[in-house]
Amino acid sequence: MEENDRMEVIILMKGNHNMIMADHLVKTFIKNEKKNRKSEIKAVDDISLTVREGEIVGILGPNGAGKTTLLRMMSKLMRPTDGQVSIRIGAEEITDEIEIKRYIGYLSNNTKLYGRLSTRELLQMLGTIYGIREKTVEERIAQISQVLSMDAFLDNRIEKLSTGQTQRASIARCLVHDPQVYIFDEPTLGLDIISSAAIIDFMKRERERGKTVLYSTHYMEEAEYLCDRIVMIHHGRIISEGTPGELRSKTGQNSLRDIFSGLILSADGSKEGLFGNGELQDDIVSAGSGAAGGMSRQTAKREGMYDER
């Protein structure tokens, strides 16, 4: 039933119109190592990506794969070492850093709010900075507050809010300028069921309004349930992309979990083996329990969360 609704929405809203484009993005970091050594690390190594209007695209990848760096570059928080990000608004293609930011709502675990301001003050300030008329801002605040049921704490200082309330205030922050594109970096990480369900519902609702969502996650089931398209990255490169169905037929595997671990294993090459790369060990375990033949406690907990939903 729900699947059918979703299909309809996609047909209605997805005009195959490209919204945000990443063109051969590269980001090189200099990493301090022990003693006098420094090494260059390509956190993102030549990634090109296009997200269309009314589409939810999920970025999957183990820790250190370059998800956060990619999303930071796409939301213009970070300058790419090479390559370019652009946004299409109408017929216009925008590449200017400041202009692009106008059309993006970016949310990550590091985007904290001003604790000494109230949510209302914060939203008013943001509205003015985005250049929205005062009256429109007030209307939008009222609307957002109603949708996210924030009326009770709209005028409280943010530092006094609970975790769930703060998360809602964070979403409100991304909403105030009604952006075309949402870029969320692990928005459900460490949240309880109710809070993460609220975020997932929010993303679905925005897609229905024709908005574009690009987000990263560790949770396979969540991605499978939500995403129109999935981009898997590993060591800063795209190792596979497509709709969940395409990925299934491409790899012959049924669950996203198996597809993912299989892809990572083949990308790393057989000689490294499953636990060859210490950095990835935990992620592979949590991402690909089937291949690993077991499940860490943490993974079990995450899975349970989705079963309940």
């Binding site: 200099i30 970070m78 001003y114 985005y130 250049g131």
Partner: protein
């Protein structure tokens, strides 16, 4: 770029954020409103305590003399009058000193005066005897005991009175006019300074220091809070998702910090003023300290207020430059401590007597504000000087903030894994060998170097003349070199120590020889437009030039050729080249070289010289031709100063006070011709 609405919104947000922080509010309000009155009340209490302890003081003096001894009589008389005045109400305060009582201790009770003094059973011991036909008294006391010292003083006063009285009696007995003999001339000193000036000179020493410190304290917390604090709280990443430029961000933070600094300075002044007024009222009731017309201070206080506003802009910019690179509150505090020490140290300048606010002083940050406030309080008004101080402070602030918004790399600050742009504060073992210093490092070190040259260098030059000038050049060379070596950079690459063909040297020499007459004409033209500012070498070095042309050639031509070239065309140009396009790097370096000469008139000629030097370094890829060119340029000036006659015989135009239009055009033509040939040769030369 500078959207006023965005900046206004950001400032409003920063203000809300800062004013809702208890720490800042306490620092801003508590110090002026509670601490000053508290200090004042404490001081009054202490004064009262001291006064009351003096009041009841009883000095015990033992006198070993006959009962009818003249001194003993005198001392008893003094004790009596003292007792009478002390009993009159209000007499103690009226005298402006504490009253005392004298008890004459029976000397028979004192067996050993030394022990008695040490045990403090008596305060002074006087013994009289006849020697050579007159009375000889010896006064014994202990310098180490306060009361003993006072007692001895009282005794000596009594002797003075006694001697005076006896002298008068004897003169009268000899039948002479006492007045004529004892007072052959009359004299009196009279203080022409108005009581306001006297008060001002006392305040002028203390007030600037207090204001500077209170401003520093007032701006410190908001500066840390809006920069390092924002980063620490994780809101910086949020604000970077907004369509806001670095400059808008920095400028709005600067406005916030500066305004808070101004508010805190105003509160400080009001509080200090209130206390001063209260104290004055109390003192006026009790004593005669002269009357003050407080309205006379109004213009002075208004100018001081402006000065404080300008200074709060300056100090805000400086503290922000320091705190912006810190990643946490703690780190910011570490960075700010040395700054505080420097500012306090320079702030002491108000206590130095006889230090005049000269044109050069008016350009020195911190010192200029101190001296201006000091001058204003003694009613020394020089509007030109006031303008220079105010403008220079605001200008430093603006330049600092623009620089900060240029070099403030939010990405490097935010995502610290990134190659740090300020490597100076990184662990040395973490730094990679080779390459060129980062632009941020270079700006920081250049700022420190220029400050050192301003403060230490000018002191050295005033004290040691030519040797001091050489010392200044060494500062220019060594401080940046220390950066290059500390950050393990490639010296060859940083300074451009690479060989080049003869064409580079030839072309450079021709270019500079052509540019020299053009520049001297420009300089003399500008000097006529702006008389008074030092335009040419003669006026700058007139005081310190020695007899030896060779020494001058070494210090004025060779040393700057090496040291200034290594700094500007070496370090700065090569570092800028890594961040900017070559044309921008050249223009920024040249402009900096112009600014470095600290003179309106010299800016254009030295800027042009800088352009030429940068161009040659870029063309040849080597600094050596630039060193030769800089040497030649300065050497021409030295030769003209030392050998005016010889030069005059060959090129009269260079030594004439004025020159005709045809002379000028000829010179210009020749200059352009040589410059052109030089440029042509340089174009041919390969890197």
């Amino acid at each position: 770029m500078m959207n006023a609405k965005i900046i206004r919104t950001l400032v409003k947000k920063e203000m809300l954020d800062v004013f809702r922080d208890k720490k800042t509010v306490i620092m801003m309000l508590v110090v002026p409103i509670i601490l000053y009155p508290l200090i004042f009340v404490g001081a009054m209490q202490l004064m009262n305590f001291i006064a009351s302890s003096m009041e009841t003081q009883n000095y015990r003096i033992a006198v070993d003399a006959e009962d009818g001894d003249a001194f003993l009589q005198k001392l008893l008389e003094k004790a009596e009058t003292e007792r009478e005045t002390a009993e009159e109400p209000g007499a103690v305060e009226a005298k402006g000193e504490s009253a005392y009582e004298i008890t004459i201790v029976d000397d028979a009770a004192v067996s050993d005066y030394e022990t008695a003094l040490n045990e403090e059973t008596i305060d002074a011991y006087v013994s009289g005897r006849v020697q050579d036909g007159r009375m000889q008294y010896d006064v014994y006391y202990l310098d180490s005991v306060t009361n003993s010292g006072y007692a001895a003083g009282i005794v000596m006063d009594a002797f003075d009175d006694l001697r005076d009285e006896m002298t008068r009696q004897r003169i009268a007995a000899a039948g002479l006019d006492v007045h004529e003999i004892l007072d052959p001339i009359g004299y009196e000193k009279e203080n022409l300074a108005s009581s306001e000036q006297s008060l001002g000179s006392i305040m002028g020493a203390v007030l600037p220091f207090m204001l500077i410190i209170s401003l520093l304290m007032g701006t410190m917390y908001p500066a840390i809070d809006t920069t390092a604090g924002e980063r620490e709280r994780g809101t910086l990443e949020t604000i970077l998702t907004l369509p806001v430029t670095n400059r808008q961000l920095i400028v709005s933070k600067f406005i916030t910090v500066a305004v808070i600094g101004m508010i805190s300075a105003l509160l400080n002044i009001l509080s200090m003023g209130g206390i001063a007024f209260y104290m004055y009222e109390i003192l006026e009731m009790q004593t005669d300290i002269g009357s003050f017309d407080m309205t006379k201070f109004v213009p002075a206080i208004l100018v001081c207020m402006l000065a404080i506003f300008a200074f709060s802009m300056f100090i805000s910019a400086v503290t922000m430059c320091v705190t912006s690179f810190a990643k946490s509150y703690k780190e910011a505090n570490n960075y700010i401590t040395p700054l505080m020490l420097v500012v306090m140290f320079v702030g002491y300048i108000g206590f130095i007597p006889n230090l005049e606010l000269t044109q050069a002083m008016a350009m020195l940050p911190v010192a200029n504000i101190c001296l201006l406030i000091k001058n204003m309080l003694v009613f020394k008004v020089d509007y030109g000087m006031i303008a220079v101080v105010l403008i220079s402070n605001v200008a430093y602030a603006v330049v600092a903030i623009l620089f900060l918004s240029k070099i403030y790399d939010s990405e490097a600050i935010l995502f610290s894994e990134q190659k740090g742009s300020l490597q100076l504060f990184e662990k040395r073992s973490n730094l990679r060998k080779g390459g060129v210093p980062t632009v941020s490092d270079v700006w920081l070190v250049v700022a420190v170097t220029i400050l050192l040259v301003l403060y230490v260098g000018s002191l050295l030059q005033v004290k040691y003349g030519l040797a001091g000038l050489f010392g200044t050049q060494l500062i220019l060379l060594l401080v940046p070199l220390a950066l290059v070596l500390y950050t393990k950079k490639d010296v060859r690459q940083t300074y451009g120590f690479t060989g080049t063909g003869a064409a580079g040297f030839l072309g450079g020499s021709l270019l500079i020889t052509g540019l020299y007459p053009i520049n001297s004409m420009l300089a003399s033209g500008l000097t006529q437009l702006f008389p008074g500012s030092a335009g040419n070498v003669e006026t700058v070095f007139s005081g310190i030039l020695g007899d030896s042309a060779l020494v001058s050639l070494l210090v004025i031509a060779l040393a700057p050729a090496i040291c200034e070239e290594m700094l500007f065309r070496g370090l700065i140009l090569h570092a800028l080249k890594t961040r900017y396009k070559i044309a921008s790097a050249i223009f920024i370096t040249a402009a900096l070289f112009g600014f470095y000469h600290m003179s309106l008139v010299k800016f254009i000629p030295t800027g042009l010289l800088g352009l030429a030097l940068c161009y040659v370094v870029w063309r040849t890829g080597s600094i050596y031709p630039a060193i030769l060119m800089h040497f030649l340029n300065n050497a021409y000036s030295v030769i003209i100063i030392y050998y005016p006659e010889q030069v005059g015989r060959i090129f009269p135009v260079f030594v004439q006070e004025t020159f005709t239009l045809s002379d000028g055009l000829l010179l210009l033509g020749a200059g352009l011709f040589l410059t052109g040939i030089g440029g042509y040769v340089l174009k041919k030369c390969r890197k």
